[in-house]
Structure formats: structure tokens, C-alpha cells
Symmetry: C2
Subunit: 333 residues, 2 copies
Amino acid sequence: MTKPSAGGRPSEDELIARYFAPIAGEGALGLKDDAAILRPRPGHDLVVTVDAVVAGVHFFADDPAGSVGRKALGVNLSDLAAKGAAPVGFVLTLTLPPDWSEAWLAAFCEGLGAAARASGCALLGGDTVRGPGIAISLTAFGEVPAGGMVERTTARPGEVLCVSGTIGDAALGLAVRGSSVPLWGSILSTQDREFLADRYLHPQPRNGLAAALLAHASAAMDVSDGLAGDLAKMMRAGGTSAVVDADKIPLSPAARAALTAEPSLFDRLVTGGDDYEILAAVPPERLDAFLSASAKAGVATTAIGTVTKGTALPLFRRAGEERRYERGSYRHF
Amino acid sequence: MTKPSAGGRPSEDELIARYFAPIAGEGALGLKDDAAILRPRPGHDLVVTVDAVVAGVHFFADDPAGSVGRKALGVNLSDLAAKGAAPVGFVLTLTLPPDWSEAWLAAFCEGLGAAARASGCALLGGDTVRGPGIAISLTAFGEVPAGGMVERTTARPGEVLCVSGTIGDAALGLAVRGSSVPLWGSILSTQDREFLADRYLHPQPRNGLAAALLAHASAAMDVSDGLAGDLAKMMRAGGTSAVVDADKIPLSPAARAALTAEPSLFDRLVTGGDDYEILAAVPPERLDAFLSASAKAGVATTAIGTVTKGTALPLFRRAGEERRYERGSYRHF
């Protein structure tokens, strides 16, 4: 059932030499072996995360290939950041449909390689297979001091919930792109719309925050499926609940402009996916140190609420109203 | 663009709890975190390999789901075996099409879990995504003593080429199944046909051979894309060539029966894929020790040729004839 590749197409070995070897790191053995070697520094654990992106589900088939490459790595870098881990490398499964083009692959690897270099996370190995559509599954590795990984399930009542960056931009970027809300043109400037579209297309993983999380956070996860849903997931995993002061949720000027014009967008901001921000629980006595260390690392973080006892869905308080999101996350599956 | 799952379907969290958590290992944190922890034993390196299988390319869409689960792990265990690595765990990306059934998933996880338990290779994490067809990308981890991984590119002229098990069974199993050679019924017994079909469906990764490879082999790889092509790849990677005494290539009784009836099948035996045997280069002075250690480990190995100087394609000598295989590997891509 396996088939030789179409005539004239480069072989997998040729593709490896041309596009993948240039972004390979130490331990990859030049991508000429069945396997790579990973040797964590003494006194360190490896942190492993896996996330896939599929055309038509996690990105648009006509998104620029370089953006797809950047996103495929970025969504995994975001998981490493949340764990306090410094990126060290990744392996890749790239699925290409029969009509793949070498130009697409070249651009994909350019975006992937740029993201890999920028984060110090080099390609260690991979597999390229044929399939019905473009899909990228990526397993990324990071390092933390032994026993130090910031877990998801360990938030305790009384701790402060903090979030990095701004929330909801990517959800608005997707909406702008899909034109699912009419009259964006009258609500948002061209610049705002471009900013939001970029936030959807290009996750900005918060790896700069890793050291501050390691030093001060008692639990963290990355926000990829919507703040409300991911917060609920984190609280449920630890047997806790939360109260969020929703007026404090950090919004970009573009998101704020959209929300001012259309207040009903709020739910979309906190339930839409693809933020790739970090949600952390920080003991109150460490809050100032955490916020200060984050700022020094160049990542703004904002206190938005408190971990509470109980197993209720997190409560969002906003302008005097209270709300719990029953289905706070979109599901990719 | 992301969508909630169809009504009535279990959520990803429910699927994790029901099907994946039971096969999760230490370090997986109950599959409730963004990431897993890998802590190689002191004095050991981690070996990382990634291989994907796609419905319609690497397996038939109507193959039993349990067999697909077993194969997805097996093809990666085979890579670990070739590197001399003891399996420690794996992460998984499972892509399911919109019409997936829970019965399929349950059977898949049963096969995967059985293979994981049998090999001591536990699930550490994963991602389940929607896509156009069933696909499984698996990243597996093994351990070797630090600096000890058996590489692919390090065979030296004068060393003996050895192969485990028997060659060509899976290629015949695929042919029997596809009925691409007429009159199989008159050539092969029902038992032989069932044996060959099983060899295609269920790789038998040679993890028992890892210790013998570590102790005695100077280079190794797993044979997954055909002996001729994979040998050529291994020799090319090391800047060497090879001479193979093709009459010594180990064949199962079923393959021998097929070859006796139809001598032209030989090329298919040595170029067909899915053997999942180990090809190793062993210094002559260690050959007896290697064969003996392999036998003690319950894996038959056979000397089939010699590494030679030069960069020519490997030469296969058989019954006085000589042959080089220009395109010795089927390509999955």
C-alpha cells in the first residue's frame, strides 16, 4: 500500500538535507539516524509536551506556510513556558497531502526554523508522511531544575490568579477574519484589525515568564482553549474553584475598542481560544515579587482573581453581574 | 474554526479518563497536566524517536483497531531496539475523523495498552485532534547508558552485517492480502498465508536484542522500508558499501515456500517494507558473542554479509548472480 513518491519530487532524504537539517540541533545526529539523543543537564528534569495542529481545524489551509510553521512550534513552546521549562528541542511529524508543493514546505520550514532559533528550541528528529491533509504534530522538550516543574493541579485556595499579556485577541482575530460579526470596519481601525488577525495567526509564547513562574508560582497552565474553560480545567484538576474580577482581565486596546462598541463580545473574549497566554496561581505573599520578575522579563502579568474552596465553576464578576461559563472552552475535538 | 464536539460524544477529558489514563505511566501526572516529566536514570541518555502511521498509507482503514494501536507503538519500539535503548515511555497524537466511533477508540487503546504493558513503555501524554482521517503520531523514549546509543552511521569496512528474525514476511503478507499475486492459494497453505498476514499486521519489535546490540554492535538501524533500501541508507550514511550473501538472508518457512514456487518474488522480499527487524554491523571478533547473546535473548540473528569500502550501492550475490537495487525502498512519502 505504500507508494513511491511522484516522479520528479525530491525524496525524503533530499527534503531532510535541504529543509530540515539546517534547523537541526545538537543531539539530532544530522537527522541521519533513527533517533535523537537527549541528555538533560545534571540536576534537571525533562519536560515533554505534545500538541498537533491540523489544517481546517487549528489553522486555515491557506494561511501562510511560514505562519503555520511558527504556530506549530509556538503552541508547544507555550506549554513549556507554563511549566517553567527552558526549551531545548523538538521532534516533528509532518503530514502532507498528495498535492503538496515544495514552495509550501520551504516556507513552512523557514517559519519553523525562525521560531526554533528565536527560542533556542532546535529540531531533533522527525517523520514526514503522506496523508489526506496538512497536519503537524510536534513533541517539544524543555528543562527544569529536578522536581521543579510548575504543575497544573497544585493551586491552593487563597492564591492569586494571574494572567500574562492580553486575553481574547486571537478570538477576535478569528472573528474579524471570518467576518462573523458584521461591520468590523465601523468598529475597528485597520490597524486594530491587523493586530487582532496577527494575534490569531502568530502565537507569542511567553517563554520569558518561565523563570518567574519557577520562582514564585504554585501552579500554571497555558491558556489555549479560552480563559474561562482553561481556568475551570485548572481549578477542577486541583479540587478548587475561583472568583475572577472580570473587569481586571487584561485587554489590548483593539479588544477594548471592540468591546466598547459591542459589549456582548465579552463572552467571546473569555471563551475563545488561541490566546497562548499563561494562567498562574501565586501565593499572596509572592505576588509582588512575581509581578516584578515578570515585568523585568518583559512579560506583563495581571492579577485577575483568587483561588477559592469548593468545586463550583469559576465565578466571573463584572460590573456588578456574576456569571459562570458552563461550556467555557471550545473543543478542538 | 474550532468546533464543540458533536452532541452526546464524550469530551476529551472524559476520553482521557476512560481510555488513556489506564495506560498512563509515572511521569504522566495522570494526564491532567500540559506536560509530562522525564527523568532519565543517572548515567543514562534518553533516546527519542518519532514515527507516524496514517490510515490508507501505513495501515488499512479497516484493519482491527487493536492491531493499529499495537502497530503504532511497535514501529517506534523497533527504532528504540535498534538503538540499544530500553523503552521508558511515549507521547501520542491521535487524529480522528468526524465519524470516529467510541468502539474503535476503545479497541485501539486496548491494543496500544497491551503493547505498552508488554514493553514497559507507558503513555506519558498526548493530544487528540480532529482531522480528515485516522492518523497516529507517536514519540517514544528509551534509555541507554550515557554515550552508548548504537548509531546508524558508524559501520566500518570489514564488519559483519547481521539481521534479526526473518525478512520479507510482511511484504508477502501485504501481497497476499491485496491478492496482487494470483494463485496464492495454490502456492501457500492457509496457515502460511495467515502467518504472513499477521507479520504485516503486527510488527514484532526486537527489544530483546537491545542489550546484545549495546554490548557488541558498532552500528544498527531497524529495517522498516525494505532490507535493500535500508541497508543502502545505512551504508550511505557511513560512507561505506556492502556485499550481501543473499542466500543467507533469513526467510520464514512461509516465505521460502512462496519463493520456491515463484522465484521472482525474491526482489519483493528484500525491497518490501514493514519487516521491523534489526540490521546491525558487528566487528568480526565480536560476531560469535553477538550471535550467542542474541540467541540467549530469544531473538535469532543471522550474518548475511560484510561492510565494504566505497560508496556503491550494496551488492547482493545470489546463486551466482549479482544485483544492486537502485530503488530498494518503498517510500511512504
